[in-house]
Amino acid sequence: MSDTNANVLRLEHVTMQFGGVVAVSDFSMEVNQGEIVALIGPNGAGKTTAFNVITGVYEPTNGTVYFNGEAIVENYPKGKMKKLYLGDSSTICDKVISKTPDKITNLGIARTFQNIRLFKKMTVFENVLIARHMRSKANFMSATFRLNLQEEAENREKTLELLKLVGLDGMKDDLATSLPYGKQRRLEIARALATEPTLLLLDEPAAGMNPQETLELAHFIREIKDRFNLTVFVIEHHMDLVMEISDRIYVLDFGRMIASGTPEEIQNNQHVIDAYLGVQEDE
């Protein structure tokens, strides 16, 4: 576990403050090659915020994110944040690295969104095809004059393949937003896969799905993981899904990591039961 070379993703002392709100507090964790790791916790625990820091949407107040050993995000508190910041680890970072989300996607991290963010005026097919743009070698001239026909054909073929994989090839010309909820989530996964990631971040992929769909999703996540040789980091509320697919689990509560370990360890952890699992059962 401590072999740093095997870490695909590593967070060190990541803190994210929005003014006085500490959304993520001194969070350190890692995801190893080929693992499926889950991030769980009550609503507002800071899970999505952690994803947003990893993908460069937010610049953290403090801490470092490594991807395959390379620091892709790093910051330390300055100015007002320095005064607000209470952690002791503020000294471990001294430089600022903030890659934009597109650069990070380029390196091989792809994500889906909790509040589905498909391209609304585009078809299902176009939504996936667009994710091939980044890997395209054409410039705007060669694309305009159609000198990239072969690449374009390859991209279309690959797009169709991915749509078949998620079972959406039959509705490829429909508007993306006309799909039912569960299918939109699958489309987001197909779109993320089209960027050719090595690390896939899924933000509540089973939200709004029934137990049957959730079960299918669990198999599907395993399948794509093997097929594309992925590492998967997933935020999820459906405990059966989490316990079924995860190798390891991290639990956040009010921005703090309160536990980490295997599914069995988490299920039997009293802190977790008090803070989260117990609450779940009441619902």
Binding site: T55, V57, T100, P101, D102, K103, T105, N106, A110, R111, F113, R117, L118, F119, K120, K121, M122, E126, L129, I130, A131, R132, H133, M134, R135, S136, A138, F140, A143, T144, F145, R146, N148, E152, N155, R191, T195
Partner: protein, 355 residues
């Protein structure tokens, strides 16, 4: 399949239009009212489509079109006035400092390039900010350009507040038509390419687009520069059509007019922009003309009909369209054979169902 049929349909339509234009050039007087509408229609179609590329397809709100047309028009004029005529054009500035002339086609391209270059310069700082700033910055830029081009100190280059003239122009309809067709075709090819899809992705959802690896700053700048390139060519065409050009005329009114056309045609619809342009100029220059001339029926003078009333009616029509047909004529769809067939197919079915 429908795609192929649609492109054949478009090609046939275009060929027919070329023949029609050739015929019109022979039978209609070059300065008649219909020709005015058609020529302006061609020129402003190009400008409207270029604005739609930015506002409708990339989701960036720019208000600088008049400024970039001004730059295009002046670039063209300055570079193409024959040296022999410069002494008379630049009579207050000793014939000006430019003492050569390039061919008209090179002038057109130069007009686009200079406009695109200035767009790139403005885009560098502004496109990093939230998109509202682009509207403010481009509007300000256009006004500043208008002032700078009239500035006396630049007279040797721009002729100050005096007009530029005697550069090559056109009298046929075929010329602006052909240039507009070529330019709009290029824009359509771009929109349907992988870059066009990237622009649309940015328009639909910036966060998602960036997460899919699309470099926002790079693509926004590209769209902005290309849009301004074609606005520059549009400005050069306008200068040619008018045979004289004066910076004073490129007011922000002009931009609003083009924006209005784009909105009426439908944000994100090229055919909508083209249709709306022709309708707009036909209405304002031709169909509503009668409103401006007093009309006597017997000894009764019809009230309200007098010079300027046309503008009032026109504004009301526009307001109604914007209020009640917010998506414009075409929404974000394109006029195409399959679209038409669907429309009439549905109508036909409804009709037979009603029987």
């Amino acid at each position: 399949m429908t795609n192929k049929r649609d492109s054949i349909f478009a090609a046939v339509l275009l060929a027919a239009a070329f023949i029609l234009v050739a015929v019109l050039d022979r039978v209609l007087p070059a300065t008649g009212i219909i020709m005015t509408v058609l020529k302006k229609g061609c020129i402003y179609s190009l400008v409207a489509v270029s604005m739609n590329l930015l506002n409708g397809f990339t989701g960036l709100f720019s208000l600088g079109q008049a400024g970039f047309m001004l730059i295009g028009g002046y670039t063209y004029a300055i570079l193409t006035i024959p040296p022999a005529d410069r002494a008379s054009v630049y009579q207050y500035f000793d014939g000006g400092i430019v003492q050569f002339a390039i061919p008209f086609w090179a002038g057109l391209i130069a007009a686009g390039l200079v406009a695109a270059f200035l767009a790139w310069l403005i885009g560098l700082p502004v496109l990093r900010l939230k998109s509202d700033y682009l509207a403010i910055a481009t509007l300000g830029f256009a006004e500043i350009m208008r002032a700078i081009f009239q500035w006396d100190k630049l007279g040797p280059l721009t002729n100050g507040s005096n007009m530029l003239r005697k550069y090559p122009s056109f009298s046929s309809l075929m010329f602006p038509f052909a240039v507009a067709v070529i330019c709009i075709a290029l824009i359509v090819l771009l929109i349907n390419s992988t870059y066009g899809r990237a622009f649309k992705a940015i328009r639909d959802d910036e966060v998602a687009a960036e997460a899919m690896g699309i470099n926002l700053a790079h693509h926004k700048r590209m769209s902005f520069c290309i849009s301004c390139f074609f606005a520059g060519i549009g400005g050069a065409l306008l200068a040619m059509y008018q045979t004289t050009i004066q910076a004073m005329a490129f007011k922000s009114n002009m931009t609003y007019e083009i924006l209005l056309i784009v909105v009426i045609g439908g944000l994100g619809s090229v055919t909508g922009s083209v249709l709306a342009t022709f309708l707009f100029y036909a209405a304002s220059e031709w169909w509503l003309r009668f409103l401006d001339s007093p009309l006597m029926i017997g000894s009764f003078q019809v009230p309200l009909l007098r010079s300027g009333f046309r503008k009032v009616v026109f504004s009301i029509v526009i307001m109604l369209i914007v209020l009640f047909a917010r998506k414009g004529i075409m929404g974000d769809r394109e006029l195409s054979l399959s679209g038409l067939m669907k429309l009439f197919g549905r109508k036909g079915k409804e009709a037979s169902a009603n029987e």
